[in-house]
């Protein structure tokens, strides 16, 4: 469960990061489609938080709980901040912010997997 959601969130966010890079190069701002894609990442991070907490409660392995949970919570916070900031910026760099935000989500999803598997 955790693996599947983390991989989905990771790949989706990295795909959006590439998409945003393309849009930055092309001087285009966030489109409706990109807004919904980032919203989908947000849903994914919420599911990951729930799955992670459930997994942590039921596992007998020694997972670094505090770090693991702080990553999961931070992941939930990044897409909204990315959206607010990215939409507020009226130049090409609005999608530049999306690139940074989604790249960060992708890297953190990988770290979540590393922490979970120890």
């Amino acid at each position: 469960m955790i693996d599947g959601v983390a991989y989905t969130v990771g790949w989706l966010s990295l795909a959006i990061a590439l998409w945003a890079a393309w849009k930055t190069i092309r001087h285009t701002r966030i489109s409706d489609a990109m807004f919904y894609a980032i919203s989908a990442v947000e849903v994914g991070t919420i599911v990951l938080l729930i799955a992670g907490l459930a997994g942590l409660a039921s596992t007998e392995r020694n997972v670094e709980g505090a770090v693991f949970v702080s990553y999961l919570v931070t992941l939930v916070l990044i897409p909204p901040v990315t959206l607010v900031w990215g939409v507020a910026e009226k130049s090409r760099w609005g999608t530049g912010v999306v690139l940074i935000g989604m790249w960060t989500v992708g890297i953190m999803a990988v770290r979540v997997l590393q922490l979970w598997h120890g």
């Binding site: 702080s70 910026e89 130049s91 760099w93 609005g94 530049g96 912010v97 940074i100 935000g101 960060t104």
Partner: protein, 131 residues
Amino acid sequence: MADGLQHGFGRVVVAVYAVFALSASARSLYQLVTKASEAPLAYALSALAGVIYILATFALATNRRWLAAASIGFELVGVLVVGLLTVFDETLFPDATVWSEFGAGYGFVPLVLPFIGLAWVLKARRGNLAV
């Protein structure tokens, strides 16, 4: 035309600084709370790096140019000195910091970031922020 440090390309710079402010300070807080005695110098340094990133993020986001230049300048010196020290004397820092080996653990972003940050502040000083 918006012309503060925090607009246009600056928003991307602020975003990257915010990510590093969060990760460096959260990491050092965790290290200091759980295992401060293992590598006090490395963890104190992580905390210092975290504070510097927070300062730089704040300065850039609120268009404080001198504070931005000072904190980013300090960051540049920090990543270069710590990078050199960790390459020449591995025993000095038993645990990694954000600046170890010139930020290799973070894709060398900590090494590149201060140059981009300073360039951005200098560009702002010339009143030349249109992108």
